[in-house]
């Protein structure tokens, strides 16, 4: 086993079979392998892993999952510009309603506050005077 560590090319073998070495390095390693049994064994083992992994055949995405994702995305994440427009519209409508409420209520009290109270008082008087049947 110690012999294995002694081969300086071992570290390059994975990159060699993955095609990650430069042409010069690749040729050097290839030449070395032809005469090194340790590296030949190492390559055999690494290729055994490759062969094992390549036997996996992909499974299909379950039916309807992509559509489900598209729906989730469109529901959870509307266009940022549209979100700003909607937020601004809501804020503006709340403000307008508030202002309109203030204006309307002040106008009503200024015009008809006395008459309203009078009607109310009249009604109460009438009730206690017995004008209303219980």
């Amino acid at each position: 086993m110690k012999q294995k560590d002694e081969c300086s090319f071992e570290k390059k073998l994975n990159a060699y079979i993955a095609g990650e070495l430069s042409e010069i390095e690749y040729n050097k390693v290839r030449e070395h392998i032809s005469s090194c049994h340790l590296c030949q064994n190492e390559i055999r083992e690494l290729q055994q892993v490759d062969n094992f992994l390549f036997q996996y055949t992909e499974e299909e995405v379950p039916a309807g999952l992509n559509e489900k994702i598209l729906n989730s995305v469109s529901q959870s994440h509307t266009d940022p510009f549209m979100r700003k427009v909607v937020s601004f519209s809501i804020a503006a409508s709340v403000l307008i309603s508030f202002m309109a409420g203030i204006l309307l209520s002040s106008g009503l009290y200024a015009d008809s506050s006395d008459s309203n109270i009078t009607i109310g008082e009249d009604s109460l008087y009438s009730y206690f005077e017995g004008d209303y049947d219980v």
Partner: protein, 172 residues
């Protein structure tokens, strides 16, 4: 425009991501959930991600989300359940042609999630060292040494699987 791009990406990449998640999570429902979460998270960040990095971003996101799920599972001591599921799988394996696929899933699930991702990116996504390094935000030499480590582990696992199969055959 972005929605069209997103839809195309979803059609092109969901199968690859789904299979990656299946391999490391070994559970269809979990793989579906994480796939969905990954694409939703990606959609939120899509504008700030370079188009050339879409795939890397998706795999990185899926990896982190799967890792969180695995941690949660471990915290809940669900490993026992998974082990039982694996045994159940083994019973089934001898009866159907899914055997090899399950052995690969089994082997990959025994690696660290980062190692499984490296294997996924190199073998199944056909990425080169440079692309893997970009995806995992690391160096090419780190990719190489980690891949070698992962493969060495796989060699051990494959050999153990072979022994187990031989033992099972000798018992039968």
């Amino acid at each position: 425009m972005n929605n069209n791009k997103f839809e195309v990406l979803l059609q092109n990449e969901s199968k690859k991501l789904y299979n990656y998640l299946l391999k490391i999570l070994r559970n269809k429902e979990d793989a579906e959930d994480i796939l969905q979460e990954t694409f939703i998270a990606f959609h939120k960040k899509m504008n700030s991600v370079k188009e050339s990095s879409y795939k890397s971003y998706l795999f990185r996101t899926a990896y982190h989300k799967a890792l969180n799920l695995i941690k949660k599972r471990n915290a809940k001591n669900k490993l026992v359940t998974n082990y039982q599921e694996m045994e159940h799988f083994e019973d089934k394996q001898s009866k159907n042609n899914q055997q090899q696929k399950e052995l690969i899933k089994d082997a990959l699930s025994q690696l660290k999630p980062e190692e499984a991702l490296l294997i996924e990116l190199q073998f199944y996504q056909k990425m080169n060292y440079k692309q893997i390094a970009e995806t995992l935000e690391t160096t090419q030499s780190a990719v190489d040494s980690k891949l070698v480590r992962a493969k060495k582990k796989l060699i051990k696992i494959i050999n153990e699987q072979k022994k187990m199969q031989e033992n099972n055959l000798s018992i039968v």
